[in-house]
Symmetry: C2
Subunit: 156 residues, 2 copies
DNA sequence: CGAATGGGTTTGAAAAGCCAACCCATTGGG
DNA sequence: CCCAATGGGTTGGCTTTTCAAACCCATTCG
């Protein structure tokens, strides 16, 4: 046995979209930038890397490649429903950076329908109350994996 | 000029915590797993890589290294306030994976104080209404950068 | 005494990243 | 007609990272 790491949806998600540039590609697509050339420049990704990232994101089902011209054949990339559902990840990443890295000069601002600049807050969809550290308890379902404690988690 | 990529808090945040394993380290720390050995096994990170990641996360101010024993000197890693504020990122990543990758068997479940399993929802802190794609408008403050459109964004 | 724990560092090979150059088809301008 | 630009890539060759496994050191446990 090679001592598998903790089974976890965070790890699984990052295995799909956690490589360098992948989330920046998603950002561009969700800003309406859908073409190879422009995505390459806006993200800073080398073109060959971008090719492999796009391929992976399409395979993963978060983007789809759509032909918008025959003769010459040209394609653009669009977020699927699953891809759009990654927006909360982008929003929370941006909020953290705005607060801790660019507090005095936010490069991009999200305006909410209510007219205010968005301060995202995470709430429980059931009760509507805030879901922060203190209001959450993690339950690890996988056998042999606890949250902490001195017990040996897997191997012999 | 080498055509700088779009200035963006998402990119800036990922530059700090976007490398492989970094967010998994944060996950472990926020689950209460604070020691080198156990973090290494639970994340699957090679030990040398873990060393460099931890160093970077400490420099970035999201973790702090705390000595819990002299003779022999032993250390543990704790989340700073800034580090704890990354939890929304972990929560949204996990929610996406739970929904799209592990729908029938979530490895970890977060229970909210209200007693229900957490379905995180992002709302506007001002008005309290949901903040999804359709209720948000991006305003790019940096000059020369639009959200889309055919205009050339930076270079000559 | 010998093994285990804890926190790393070292080594050498494999993989990934990166840049610049190239390719092909079509459109647009002089 | 010819030349450059646009769009969407691929290729070559070098540099950087990653990785697994081994090693190191101090202390404690049996």
């Amino acid at each position: 046995m090679k001592a598998a790491p903790r089974p976890c949806s965070i790890a699984d998600t990052l295995a799909l979209v956690g490589e360098k540039y992948s989330l920046l590609v998603l950002r561009e697509v969700s800003l309406g930038v859908r073409r190879f050339d422009r995505i390459a420049r806006n993200t800073g990704a080398p073109r060959d890397i971008l090719t492999t990232r796009l391929k992976r994101l399409v395979e993963a089902g978060v983007l789809e490649k759509v032909q918008y011209s025959e003769r010459p054949p040209r394609f653009e990339y669009r977020a699927t429903a699953a891809g759009e559902e990654l927006q909360p990840v982008l929003v929370t990443l941006m909020a953290w950076g705005d607060r801790h890295l660019n507090a005095d000069d936010r490069p991009v601002v999200l305006e909410h329908r209510c007219g205010e600049v968005l301060s995202p807050r995470i709430v429980c969809a059931h009760c509507g109350d805030e879901a922060d550290r203190d209001s959450l308890t993690a339950h690890v379902r996988a056998p042999g994996w606890t949250t902490a404690g001195p017990t040996t988690p897997r191997e012999a």
